[in-house]
Amino acid sequence: MHLRINDIEVDAPPGTTIKDAAKLAGIRIPGLCDYPGIDHYGGCRLCLVEVEGMRGNPSSCTLPVSEGMKVKTDTPALRELRKNILEMLLSEHPCGCLFCERAGRCDEIREGMRKVPQTMGCRYCPKDQRCELQETVRLVGLGKIDLCRLGSSKEMVRSPFFDRDPNLCILCGRCVRTCAERSGGVVSFHFRGFDAGIGTAFEKPLEDAGCRFCGACVDVCPTGALVERANKWSGLPEKIVETTCPFCSCNCKIGLEIKNDKILRTRPVGSKLCVRGRFALEFVHQQRLTRPLIRKAGKLVEADWKEALALVAEKLRSYRGQQFAMLVSGVLTNEALVAAKTFADQAMSSRAVAEDFSSGHKLDEMVKGPLLVIGDLSETNPATELAVRSARPVVISPLKTLLATNASIWLRPRPGEEGLVLAAIARAALANQSSESLERIDGYSSFSRALDLLKLDDIGVSQDEISKAAVALRKAAIVVSPDCDQEIKRAAGNLALALGGSLCLVGRNCNSRGAAILGLDRGYEETMRSLQSGETKAAYIIGCNPARTNARMAEALSNLEFLVVQDLFLTESARNADVVLPAASFAEIDGTFTSSDGRMLRLKEAITPRSRSDEQILSDLYTMLKDGPGPQADNSQSSLEMLRRAAKENLEALQTQTRIEDMEKTVPAFQPVNLKGAAKDPCRLVIGPCLFEFGSGTRTSRVHDLQYLNRNRKIEINPDDASDLDITDTEAISLESGERILNGSVRISRRVLPGVMHICGRKSEAVTVEVKRDV
């Protein structure tokens, strides 16, 4: 469309608003309620313009351009109008500092941290210098306010991670609209007139209203109404370093705001972050190990690097092959993983293993076609779930998640029968097509026979829905979340083959794909068995914490002759160690992760390393083991050279892995699956993953507000069951399942059907339970 704005000819695609079209022409129209990426609102009225032939002054952020339109954005009348509107906004907003005669000079005479605890003006606001209202006052050229000022003393609303100051809210609605897109709308406008404000339903605390603390509302707020609590008063950062989030395989791009060699805050960089990437990176500054520890006379004491590394090299020399285990994980960079792999292969004649696996897949392309999602993706990989939600996939979920309610077809089986549903869809799909192409694939005949024998009439999902799904899912991509067990993964693989589609095994960690490409998952089960049987005598653990997740592993580790643990903190596993080596965090190193679609993602050093990098420690040890301790001239060089060459080769191999693995690699054959019907017991508990605890919880347990959110493990119970059992919301109960007892507090919720309950736990599964009240 061709239009004219202020004597400038502008070309803009149809559907563009006048405000955005003006931006294309380099014309800035003020506005406080508009924000890229969320619905236009036209609430603040600052963006009013004149359009030839139109009566009145339309808001440029809501009016789309039309051919031949003539727009004026900067007439004297408009300028006056904008000043008046801004004045009205400010009459309800504490703005003493904006028009104070001493503006800018009071810093020298300010005698305390904050003169007053309530924000009375810019100098006492945590958003000072970062506020869009301040910027708009400058833009509009407002010099003073003649209107009577309405003071207000509403109380702050305090929640995990951020605070809401209703006295500063200008009711632009950005937070409401953003939240509607992200979480279905946890906050909205409440009350009317002068009492109007933003709040949750029944003014429940955010955590009880379904907020997941993604921080999107804080990002879009133009004033100091929503401010995060960490480093609230630290002002502008010195620099912003773009890097990659170190948690899950969504690999969100993040910007670290740095000041005084500290991470102040995180901001999204074209990404949609979750609570972990947005608020939980403070773990970098919590309880870090900075010096090596050596066990002497039964106690771990601080030592210097020379002594610690020499001891490790000396001890590890006496172990080889199966006697030695090296456990790493997909939280490490490619460089560290390669160093670990080389170290284990060449210095220890053994191998490094990791539990991680991720298939290679391109999400952008997958969402264009039919999709099936299985597993609670919103808890493990929130950004992926958000991307997938708008594609309206077919969803298999016993819980009523946001994804399920947005699904094109929602299959709701009984907990534990998800695998059977996958088999049922496969059977329906095979019934409607010729099996010629499939017969060539290994394992087809046993698969087909097993399907015929399966009893699928009573799984909580009707045959009709199964058939619909089978039709909808032809050539579909099947997305399996990382918490699903092996049986589900195999069943999904079989289904993918039957549908002629593809299998997408979402990785758990930020570099699960890198670990998978390096083949580190091969031999993992075997290594675990050797550790637990006692065949392994020594181990070197980097970036994982098996003692925390698994009591049997904790015991196995404590029985080792020699254990080295390399991590950021003194973890549960480290407490058993003979030598503990402190490592640098993701924010302190340069390095790469591999995304699931094969891209190399950069990590950039943002703060001074608190310790040495994993890569550095491993190369130093490698050199010492290969060449012995003491000063080396030529030998050390050649070992290091060899290591570097191996690293280079491996990384090059990673970099050329840009083509996505086709189905033949991911699912080479039909696999036998052990699918049992779930018990038809009256009380089934779904144990699922938790957004607020990641992996073994080593990092997330060191973030105060995540611990606060996990303080009462919530057991979701259907209101009908609650009334039958006569239990009330927030009551403390126990769930008994065989020998296992799970304690928590009741949360009455319609996310579960009658007869089903939900709790967060480390290992996803479905079990039968009995409810016990605390007597």
Partner: protein
């Protein structure tokens, strides 16, 4: 010991506590203060006495840091770790004639105690109160009772009467004021002193330097008055406003700004939910 008998939230961040302290109030006089500690890790906080009776003392706490935040979270039935007083030199109370007392925000508290005593001594008492926000003006009824005239100002951007300075200037032009008192934030007291200097009206200010022991041993509260080093806790806290080196005072008060901000950041991150939990507990008990 030192039980909180009453708690009133006067405004967000401004709390009134009435604390049982019969020995302390026995000799309390206007212009004096107490030092309170909420718990083992709280700082010693100097608080001017706002009101007292035979068994308790009332203080007004402005929440501007970790220790004042801890104090303002105390509720009826809680106890302070310690309380010491009366400290400081009491104000000289006699019949001066006409006195003007300018109070800002939390200064309204001690201003009330001073006005009460001066009125009893026969003075004509004019009180001017200023606050950033109408929600921060409190005890107007009490001030009314102990004054002959009460002038209320509140921050209205761009207007003349946004602070006490203008009404005070007008007062000095129209009436003979024998003595002026200014109690409130340091900046306000400096402005008032500057306003009364041309007319040469004796002006008394109540300084709030950083203070630790409060009895003259540590030297933290040193101020420069008329070129001489004096201690805020035993020579003051009330001084001649025209003789105070304000620049030096503010410089010293800012000594630990970074540490105070850091401490607040850490404490708030770990304790922000205390107030909500206390409310919930009280709610459940009722």
């Amino acid at each position: 010991m030192y039980e909180v008998l009453e708690r009133e939230a006067l405004a967000p961040g401004l709390t009134l506590l009435r604390i049982r302290a019969p020995e302390i109030v026995r000799k309390m006089q206007p212009g004096q203060f107490v030092i309170a500690r909420a718990d083992e890790f709280g700082e010693r906080v100097a608080l001017s006495a706002a009101d007292w009776d035979l068994e308790s003392i009332s203080v007004i706490i402005q929440d501007i840091g970790v220790s004042t935040r801890k104090l303002s979270l105390l509720d009826k039935g809680d106890t302070l770790l310690n309380l010491v007083g009366p400290l400081g030199k009491p104000s000289r109370i006699e019949n001066f004639g006409t006195v003007a007392i300018v109070c800002g925000c939390f200064g309204i508290g001690p201003g009330y105690a001073l006005a009460r005593a001066l009125k009893k001594a026969g003075n004509k008492v004019i009180i001017i109160i200023e606050a950033r926000n109408s929600g921060w003006l409190f005890w107007q009824d009490r001030l009314f009772d102990v004054s002959d005239r009460l002038i209320v100002t509140c921050n209205q951007a761009g207007e003349d009467d946004s602070s006490a300075t203008s009404p005070l200037r007008r007062l000095l032009e129209t009436e003979k004021i024998d003595r002026v008192y200014a109690i409130g934030c340091t900046f306000m007291m400096m402005e008032i002193s500057n306003a009364t200097a041309p007319a040469g009206v004796p002006t008394r200010v109540s300084l709030m330097p950083l203070m630790v022991d409060g009895t003259g041993m540590c030297g933290a509260c040193r101020c420069l008055v008329e070129g001489k080093t004096v201690l805020g806790c035993v020579d003051g806290p009330e001084f001649d406003g025209h003789k105070v080196d304000w620049g030096r005072l503010v410089e010293r008060m800012r000594s630990y700004l970074d540490e105070e901000t850091g401490a607040m950041d850490i404490w708030d991150r770990e304790n922000w939910h205390l107030a909500a939990e206390r409310k919930a507990e009280l709610g459940k008990a009722q």
